[in-house]
C-alpha cells in the first residue's frame, strides 16, 4: 500500500498545476459553505465572510502544506532551484561563457586522456578471464640480459603441460610473416602459428566455422587456416560463404582452406624472440592463424622455437606458477645440458599488455588532472567574485525567509549547472582531442586504433563536472549561506571589495594554481630539453633525403631480382644511390646472432653465447647513410654466396673485442663453430642504430649477397623530396618483377620521427596542457590583483593624497603581485621536484630535477605572470585621490 502513496506522490509532481487548481476550487467552495452556515447562524454578510476565513486558517500555509504532503518535496524544490539558477545565469551570459569554457578546458583535457586510458588500458584483451593468463618468456639463469629472449623447445613446455599443477593448460605459438596472394594484389600479413589447444587456453571461440583440431597438424592433413574478423571484412567483404574457400600464400605450395573466422579485436601475444623482425608489431590485429604442432622428431623437439602462454589453475598466483615452473626447468636442465642456462620468467598477460600504455598514459592523465584543478581554481574564484556582486540579492532573500540551507542550495545549483555546461562542452572538446590524438599519436600509444569516443567519455566528463562543481562551488556557496543580511543590506549597491581574510583565501587559490602550472611547465620543459638533446645527439648517420620501402619478391626469384632491381632504381633520374638492407636503423630490425669471435672463449652452454645484432647490406649502403668506413673496405658485388664469407664490424665491436690489435682480418663465426668463418674486411663508424638515445653497441654487418633476407628495406637517396620519387621507384620494381610486394613507403626522417613518437606525443601534450594552465593562472592572478586594487582604492587614494609618488604605488601593487607569484613558484618548484620523476623514462640526458630547466621555466613563468600584473598596477596608479575620497 505504501508503494501506491509513493507512486502517487511522484505522479503529483507532474500534475502539480491541476492539483493546485482543484484545491483552489475546493477552498472557494469551502468558504462559501462556511459563509452560508455563518449567515444562517445570524451573522451579517461581512461578519460571515470574516468568520469563514478565520475558521479556515491560513490559506497559503495550507496550500504549501498540501503541496508538501502530496509530492516529493526535494524534487520540487530542486526543480525550482534549477529554474531560478537558469534564469539568473541567463542574465549573465559572459560570466557563464567564461566559467563554462574554463571548466571545459580542464574537463576536456582530462576526459580526452581518459578516453585513451579507457580504450587502451581499461579494455581487456578479448580472452576469457584474461587475468588468469600468463606469458612464459625465458630469462638467463645468470641474470644477464638477452639480446633476443630465447624461445622454448617443445620438449620443455610439453613436459610443463603434463606436470605443472599450478598451470591448468599451456599452449605454444610463433609469430609468422607472409604474403597473401590475392587475384589483384599481394598483401603482407602477420600471423600466429599456434598449437591446436591455443584457442581453448586463451578462451577464444570462432565467430564463424571451427577452431583447429589435433588432426589439422598431421603431415597428411589438408592445410587449413583461420582468419581474423578484420581481414575477413577488409579483403573478403564479410562474405558469409567464406568457409571452405581456399587462399594462396607465398612460400606455400598448396592453397589453404579457411575453416574459421575469429571474433574482432584479437591481437598478437608477444613473441620477443622475433621482435627484431622488420614487420613485427605486437599490437597489430591478427590476420591469420595456422595450426602447428611440434611433431615427434627428437631433434625438432629440442629446437627452441616456441613462445608459451598458460592459464593459471584457479586460485594460483603468477608467483606460485613461477616457482613451480622454475623448478621443472631446473630439473630439465640437469637431465639435458642443452636446456641449461634458461629459466622461465612468468608475467601476467594483462600487466604485460598494459605496460607500454601505462608508461605514457598515466603521467599524461596526471597532467590533465592538474589542468582540471587549475581550471577549478579559476571557476571557484569567478563564482566567488560573482557572489560578492550578489551579496545584496542573497541578503534580501535571507531577509525574506529563505533559510541558510536554501541559499546554499541555490548557490550550489548555479555552480552545478555551470559545471554541467562545462562538462558537456568539455566532452565535446575531448571528442575532438581524441581525433587529434589518433592522427598524431599512432606510433606513441599502443592499440590507439581501439580507442573510441562514446558514452563512457561523456559520462566521465559529466562525472568530472560534478567533482568540479564541488571543488569550485562549495566555498562560494557556503559563503553565500553564511551572509549576515543586516551587514550586507547596510552597504549601498553591489560590493566590489572584500575583507582581508577573503583576499587571503583567493590568493591562496591563485598561488596553488601557479604552483600546479609550474609543475606542468617543468614537465614540458624537461621534455623539450629531451627533444633538443636527441636532435643534437650524434646519431652517426644522416637520415635526410632518403626514401625507404619494404620490398619482397614474393615468388622466389632470389638474388637475381635484387641485383636487377637495384640497377634499375639506380638508373632512375633523381636517384643518387640505392641499397638493400636488413636492419635499417631505428626500425628495431636486425638479426640477433650467436657469434663466436676469434680470441674470445667459446661458450660451453647455449645460454652463455655472445649475442650480437647482424645487419645485412648491399655495397654503398654505408656511404649513402654517411657512416664513414674507418678501416678496410666496403662490401663488393662479388662478395657472394660462393665467395669466402666476409663481415664489416662497427667501431664499438673493434674496441670491445680487439682493443689492442687490428680488427681487420680477424675471424668471426656466425653459424656455429663447425661452419666456415667470416673474415672482418672493414670497420665502420659507430651509429646509434637501435635507439637515438642509446650509445652504439657492437654490431656486425654481412654482405647482402651472402645473407639475403625475405622481406627487407630498399633505401634510395634522392636529389629532391624523397616521396616524390615513390611512384617511379615502384613502377621500376614492378617492371623487374610484377609480383614484387612494395609496402610501407616512408622517408627515413619519418622512421626517425616514429622512433621518437612516444616522447614527441608526451611533449606536445604537456606543452599544450601547460599553456592552458598558464593562461588560466594568468587570468587568476589578474583577477586577484584587480580585486586587491579595487579593495584598496581608499588606501591608495590616501597614500597619493599625502604625497606618495606613482612609483611608490606601482611598487606597492607590483610587490603584492610578486609575492603572490613567488609563493606559487616556490611551491611549484617543490611540486616539480616531487612529480617530474614520473617522466624519467622519457627523458634523455636531462635529470628530472635538472636545475637549469627548473630555473628557466620559473623565470619564464614569473615574466609572463608579471604581464598579468600590469593592468591592475596601471589602474592603481591612476586612482584619482580627490574623486575616490569624495565618493566615500
Amino acid at each position: 500500500m505504501r508503494w501506491r502513496g509513493r507512486i502517487e506522490r511522484v505522479l503529483a509532481l507532474a500534475r502539480g498545476r491541476r492539483l493546485d487548481r482543484e484545491l483552489e476550487a475546493e477552498v472557494e467552495a469551502h468558504l462559501e459553505m462556511a459563509e452560508r452556515d455563518a449567515r444562517k447562524a445570524g451573522l451579517s454578510a461581512e461578519e460571515a465572510q470574516w468568520a469563514a476565513r478565520r475558521r479556515f486558517g491560513g490559506i497559503e500555509q495550507m496550500k504549501e502544506e498540501h503541496r508538501d504532503r502530496r509530492s516529493v518535496r526535494w524534487i520540487e524544490t530542486g526543480a525550482r532551484d534549477f529554474r531560478i539558477a537558469v534564469r539568473t545565469l541567463g542574465r549573465a551570459p559572459s560570466f557563464v561563457a567564461v566559467t563554462a569554457l574554463t571548466l571545459a578546458l580542464g574537463i576536456g583535457a582530462t576526459a580526452a586522456v581518459f578516453s585513451l586510458i579507457q580504450g587502451v588500458l581499461l579494455t581487456p584483451p578479448p580472452y576469457q578471464d584474461p587475468e588468469q593468463l600468463i606469458l612464459i618468456p625465458s630469462a638467463r639463469t645468470d641474470g644477464q640480459q638477452q639480446e633476443s629472449p630465447r624461445p622454448w623447445p617443445a620438449a620443455q613446455w610439453m613436459e610443463w603441460q603434463r606436470e605443472a599443477k599450478s598451470v591448468q593448460s599451456i599452449a605454444a605459438y610463433r609469430w609468422m610473416f607472409n604474403f597473401l596472394i590475392l587475384p589483384d594484389r599481394v598483401e603482407s600479413f602477420e600471423a600466429m602459428a599456434v598449437t591446436p589447444e591455443y584457442f581453448s587456453v586463451v578462451g577464444l571461440e570462432p565467430a564463424l566455422g571451427r577452431k583447429f583440431v589435433a588432426s589439422d597438424t598431421t603431415p597428411s592433413a589438408a592445410p587449413v587456416l583461420m582468419i581474423g574478423y578484420e581481414l575477413w571484412q577488409r579483403r573478403f567483404g564479410g562474405d558469409p560463404n567464406i568457409l571452405g574457400q581456399r587462399v594462396r600464400v607465398s612460400r606455400e605450395d598448396a592453397p589453404l582452406e579457411i575453416v574459421g573466422v575469429m571474433p574482432p579485436g584479437v591481437r598478437f601475444l608477444p613473441a620477443p624472440n622475433v621482435a627484431q623482425e622488420p614487420n613485427y608489431d605486437v599490437n597489430a590485429l591478427v590476420d591469420i592463424w595456422a595450426p602447428f604442432s611440434p611433431g615427434s622428431d627428437a631433434a625438432e623437439l629440442k629446437r627452441p622455437r616456441w613462445n608459451v602462454v598458460g592459464r593459471l589453475a584457479p586460485g594460483v598466483t603468477p608467483e606460485q606458477a613461477q616457482a613451480e615452473l622454475a623448478l621443472l626447468a631446473e630439473r630439465q636442465a640437469q637431465a639435458d645440458r642443452d636446456f641449461a642456462g634458461f629459466t622461465p620468467n612468468v608475467q601476467s598477460l594483462t600487466s604485460e599488455y598494459n605496460r607500454d600504455g601505462e608508461r605514457i598514459l598515466l603521467p599524461l592523465f596526471g597532467s590533465a588532472a592538474l589542468v582540471l584543478l587549475i581550471a577549478c581554481g579559476n571557476a571557484a574564484a569567478l563564482l566567488f567574485l560573482r557572489g560578492l556582486g550578489r551579496q545584496q540579492e542573497y541578503a534580501m532573500r535571507a531577509a525574506l525567509g529563505v533559510g541558510r540551507a536554501g541559499l546554499f542550495r541555490q548557490a550550489s545549483t548555479e555552480s552545478l549547472l555551470l559545471a554541467l555546461a562545462g562538462g558537456a562542452l568539455g566532452a565535446g572538446l575531448a571528442f575532438g582531442a581524441v581525433r587529434a590524438f589518433q592522427s598524431i599519436g599512432g606510433h606513441a600509444i599502443p592499440r590507439l586504433d581501439a580507442v573510441t569516443t562514446g558514452w563512457p567519455v561523456l559520462l566521465f566528463g559529466l562525472g568530472l563536472a560534478l567533482i568540479a562543481a564541488t571543488l569550485a562551488g562549495l566555498f562560494p556557496a557556503w559563503r553565500a549561506s553564511r551572509l549576515d543580511p543586516n551587514e550586507a543590506l547596510k552597504g549601498a549597491g553591489p560590493k566590489s571589495t572584500v575583507g582581508r581574510g577573503e583576499r587571503r583565501l583567493l590568493r591562496a587559490v591563485t598561488m596553488a594554481q601557479a604552483a600546479l602550472t609550474l609543475v606542468l611547465l617543468a614537465g614540458a620543459g624537461l621534455l623539450i630539453r629531451t627533444m633538443i638533446n636527441i636532435a643534437n645527439a650524434p646519431s652517426g648517420y644522416d637520415t635526410s633525403r632518403i626514401l625507404t620501402m619494404s620490398v619482397t619478391s614474393v615468388q622466389r626469384s632470389g638474388a637475381d631480382f635484387h641485383r636487377r632491381s637495384l640497377e634499375r632504381v639506380q638508373a632512375l633520374p633523381g636517384v643518387q644511390r640505392a641499397a638493400y638492407a636488413w636492419g635499417v636503423p631505428l626500425t628495431g630490425n636486425n638479426w640477433p646472432m650467436r657469434v663466436i669471435i676469434e680470441g674470445q672463449p667459446v661458450p660451453v652452454r647455449a645460454s652463455e653465447a655472445t649475442e650480437l645484432p647482424l645487419r645485412s647490406v648491399t655495397p654503398g649502403y654505408f656511404e649513402m647513410l654517411g657512416l664513414p668506413l674507418l678501416e678496410g673496405r666496403d662490401f663488393r658485388s662479388n662478395d657472394v654466396d660462393q665467395a669466402p664469407p666476409v663481415a664489416i664490424v662497427n667501431q664499438a665491436f673493434a674496441d670491445r673485442y680487439f682493443p689492442n690489435t687490428e680488427a681487420l682480418g680477424k675471424k668471426v663465426w656466425l653459424r656455429g663453430p663447425k661452419e666456415p668463418h667470416n673474415t672482418i674486411v672493414g670497420v665502420v663508424a659507430n651509429g646509434r642504430t637501435d635507439d637515438l638515445t642509446r650509445r652504439a653497441t657492437p654490431e656486425i654487418y654481412g654482405s647482402f649477397w651472402q645473407y639475403s633476407a625475405y622481406s627487407k628495406h630498399l633505401l634510395i637517396r634522392t636529389e629532391a623530396e624523397p616521396l616524390s620519387m615513390a611512384s617511379a621507384v615502384q613502377s621500376a620494381l614492378r617492371e623487374v618483377n610484377p609480383h614484387a610486394a612494395v609496402e610501407h613507403i616512408k622517408t627515413f626522417d619519418q622512421i626517425r620521427d616514429d622512433s621518437l613518437a612516444g616522447r614527441t606525443f608526451a611533449m606536445r601534450l604537456l606543452v599544450g596542457f601547460s599553456m592552458v594552465g598558464c593562461l588560466l593562472t594568468l587570468v587568476g592572478i589578474y583577477g586577484v590583483l584587480s580585486l586587491s586594487v579595487a579593495s584598496r582604492r581608499h588606501e591608495i587614494a590616501i597614500r597619493t593624497a599625502i604625497g606618495a609618488e606613482r612609483r611608490d604605488i606601482r611598487t606597492l601593487i607590483l610587490s603584492d603581485g610578486l609575492r603572490l607569484i613567488a609563493g606559487g613558484v616556490a611551491a611549484g618548484l617543490a611540486g616539480a621536484l616531487a612529480f617530474s620523476r614520473v617522466l624519467r623514462s622519457f627523458l634523455y640526458e636531462v635529470e628530472p630535477n635538472d636545475p637549469a630547466t627548473l630555473i628557466a621555466v620559473a623565470m619564464l613563468f614569473i615574466g609572463v605572470a608579471l604581464l598579468a600584473c600590469w593592468a591592475p598596477t596601471r589602474r592603481a596608479i591612476h586612482v584619482d585621490p580627490m574623486k575616490t575620497l569624495r565618493c566615500e
Binding site: E8, E26, V27, A29, M33, G58, I59, R69
Partner: protein, 121 residues
C-alpha cells in the same frame, strides 16, 4: 501513523491537532457518515469534538490528499449545497482496513499510556 511528526514547524504551531490524529478522525468520520465534502468533514470533526479541538478547517485538505494518495479514500466530483462543483470523499475498502488498524494502534497506545499513569509509585 499515529503521530506523524510534520516537518514544518510553523504549521504545527497553528494546529493543535497532529496530522496523524486528523487522519484517523477523517477516516472515522467518513466511516460513520458516508460520502461527504471537505467542509462537511471539517465541520463534523469540530462538532463531534465540541470545542475541545482547535482545528483550522483548512488543515483537513492536506490530510485528505494524503489519504487519497494512499488509496484509503476516493474522490468524486459533486455539487455542493451552494451549487458549486466540489469534491466528495468516501472510504475505500483499503481505507476501512486502515481505519481498523489505526483504531487498534490507538487503543494499544492509549492502554499503554494509561497503564503507566495508573502504575503505583
Amino acid at each position: 501513523m499515529i503521530i506523524d511528526m510534520s516537518k514544518k514547524d510553523m504549521s504545527r504551531q497553528r494546529t493543535d491537532v497532529p496530522y496523524g490524529t486528523l487522519d484517523l478522525l477523517a477516516l472515522k468520520t467518513l466511516e460513520t457518515m458516508g460520502e461527504m465534502n471537505g467542509y462537511r468533514i471539517a465541520r463534523r470533526i469540530e462538532q463531534v469534538s465540541g470545542d475541545a479541538l482547535k482545528l483550522s478547517q483548512g488543515a483537513i485538505y492536506p490530510a485528505l490528499i494524503r489519504l487519497e494518495q494512499e488509496g484509503w479514500i476516493r474522490t468524486k466530483w459533486g455539487i455542493s449545497e451552494t451549487n458549486r462543483k466540489v469534491k466528495f470523499y468516501s472510504l475505500t475498502k483499503a481505507g476501512r482496513k486502515q481505519l481498523e488498524t489505526e483504531v487498534q494502534k490507538w487503543e494499544q497506545a492509549n492502554a499503554l499510556v494509561a497503564r503507566f499513569l495508573e502504575a503505583a509509585p
